[in-house]
Symmetry: C2
Subunit: 326 residues, 2 copies
């Protein structure tokens, strides 16, 4: 015998609507009501079936998360945060690691178009804008321009880049280089470079630095960094991500450059993992928790009302956290 929602309602002594609200985590519910319904669901071994709901043209309660790499500390922390918050709202997440694989990203978009998820949060773009534009499901973008009408949530990359550079100058650095990714005009992360440049220009200091391609091998990146560090005039480096900043400090230490006496270093991202592994690193901390809150709130709005008007960008403040490296 299949247990029905009305059986749960009867045992819990509440209405069927209330059971549905508990299952979908929707509307105001007292803890007492939630507990009663959960207890009745357990007793009857009731399985709310999202596939069945999907058949009725309703929600699948699945959200797609499309990010370049789950093993990157920043995306790992972001994905974990999103998953936890979406779970609390009754959603499960489908994970798509899209790094360097446009065909994979395209296949996920096809899946979305087939209405197999209720919405998507994407921080990746191997594809051209047209392909994202053709997806009719709700999408929120993290830190990337995907297509017109898809809101972008990010840290304030320009202000973050400025703050990092100002911190280096405040500690006495003058010949400050930047190490950042390939120039990609579709990526707001490049505003970190613009923030650096704005501060250097304002202080009449010369800009300098290298751009590392994301598909370069680690070894090649290290060779380029070592070459830059052997330019003895450099006394400060702003790295637009923390992994590169730690690599810079490791190489500097190996070739006898003292951090921070001879070289001051500031990174960007500020994950808990890097704080644990490299507590000496000064960095710009992205507000991961708040960014996740905003992305989910916007996505829920779009799911409830496909035509809701949203801003083009939601830029949240990043803060500098100083430690021994600067």
């Amino acid at each position: 015998m299949v247990v029905k929602l009305t059986d749960v309602a009867e045992l819990a002594g509440v209405s069927a609507t209330t059971v549905s609200r508990v299952i979908n985590n929707y509307g105001y519910l007292s803890k007492k009501t939630i507990d009663k319904v959960h207890s009745a669901m357990r007793e009857l071994n009731y399985q709310p079936n999202s596939l069945a709901r999907s058949l009725q043209g309703k929600s699948t309660m699945l959200i797609g998360l499309v990010f370049p790499s789950v093993r990157h500390p920043f995306y790992g922390e972001l994905i974990e945060n999103l998953e936890r918050k979406l779970f609390a709202k009754g959603y499960k997440v489908i994970l798509c690691d899209s790094e360097k694989d446009p065909e994979k990203e395209r296949e996920y978009l096809r899946m979305l178009s087939a209405n197999q998820v209720d919405g998507v949060i994407a921080g990746s773009h191997n594809l051209n804008i047209d392909e994202y534009q053709n997806v009719t499901l709700p999408i929120i973008s993290f830190d990337r321009f995907l297509a017109p009408g898809i809101p972008i949530v990010s840290s304030n990359n320009f202000e973050g880049g400025k703050a990092a550079t100002e911190a280096l100058i405040a500690r006495g650095a003058k010949n400050i280089a930047i190490i950042t990714g390939a120039n990609d005009t579709a990526s707001p992360s490049d505003y970190r470079f613009d923030g650096y440049k704005a501060v250097m220009d304002a202080h009449n200091l010369e800009t300098n630095g290298i751009r590392l391609k994301s598909d370069s091998s680690e070894l090649l990146k290290q060779i380029e960094i070592e070459k830059l560090l052997k330019d003895e005039s450099i006394d400060g480096i702003f790295c637009t991500d923390d992994l590169t900043a730690v690599t810079v400090i490791n190489i500097a230490t190996r070739i006898g450059i003292n951090v921070p006496t001879d070289l001051k270093v500031v990174g960007y991202d500020g994950t808990k993992l890097l704080h644990q592994l490299a507590p000496y690193l000064s960095t710009v901390v992205q507000p991961i928790d708040e960014m996740c809150d905003v992305m989910i709130e916007l996505l829920m709005k779009r799911i409830e009302d496909a035509d809701v008007i949203l801003e083009e960008t939601y830029s949240l403040p990043a803060r500098v956290s100083l430690s021994e490296s600067c």
Copy 2:
């Protein structure tokens, strides 16, 4: 007009069975055939609908991954590897971060019981064995005992623990302490401790060390580690995970203990991320790629035949990678 599988077959000039095989990545297919079918699918904008397949009592092409924390470098690398390999077989993954949340793990198991995924790979166990025993879907376990009949894939924790301890002794350490997690008899990771103990006993050396609870705060763990390090007789430490090993090295450096002259340190896990961030760390490298291959192969066998007889444990060799810290 809904595009059907037979439309794709006609345009590609192949049979419907071949199209189905391409979609499900099943059987021998030439690259030419795959390309023809993909090209026809694109031209017609054909969406293979896994929900529709699920309705017909067939596969959902979804696999659940239940792990404690996606932002942990080891699980992040493992999940990324599993996701890539499962995608190549036509599966999408649903991610469940289960850390410290039995109710969440239980909710995912309920979802599995409702036949919403084809199978599960789980490296978590907040729950008692009964609850896993009642799940009838195919499950493969990573490094944890879940229930009788669920095969466990892991690195050879006992041999790994032995190898780490032997490496410390070979480099001249005698007073070797171990830093490991809480004693948990359901977890094969504790065999790393047994390996350490076996080598120490064989050399007539005294065992020593601390167990850190996984739910302790980072600060409390650091205080305990610092207390251990201040015992000046200790000249070697085996940490059963790399994050703790890096924390030990950071604290030692801060309080003036030279690594490796005064203190030799070996970790466990050997992820690419830690190799990048802490290239100086000697560690026991788990064969992540091979373990993922084995887990997926076993899961596919169980999906094809629920009654297939599998071994209880599949233990893969781990290798010591020596660097500056030992």
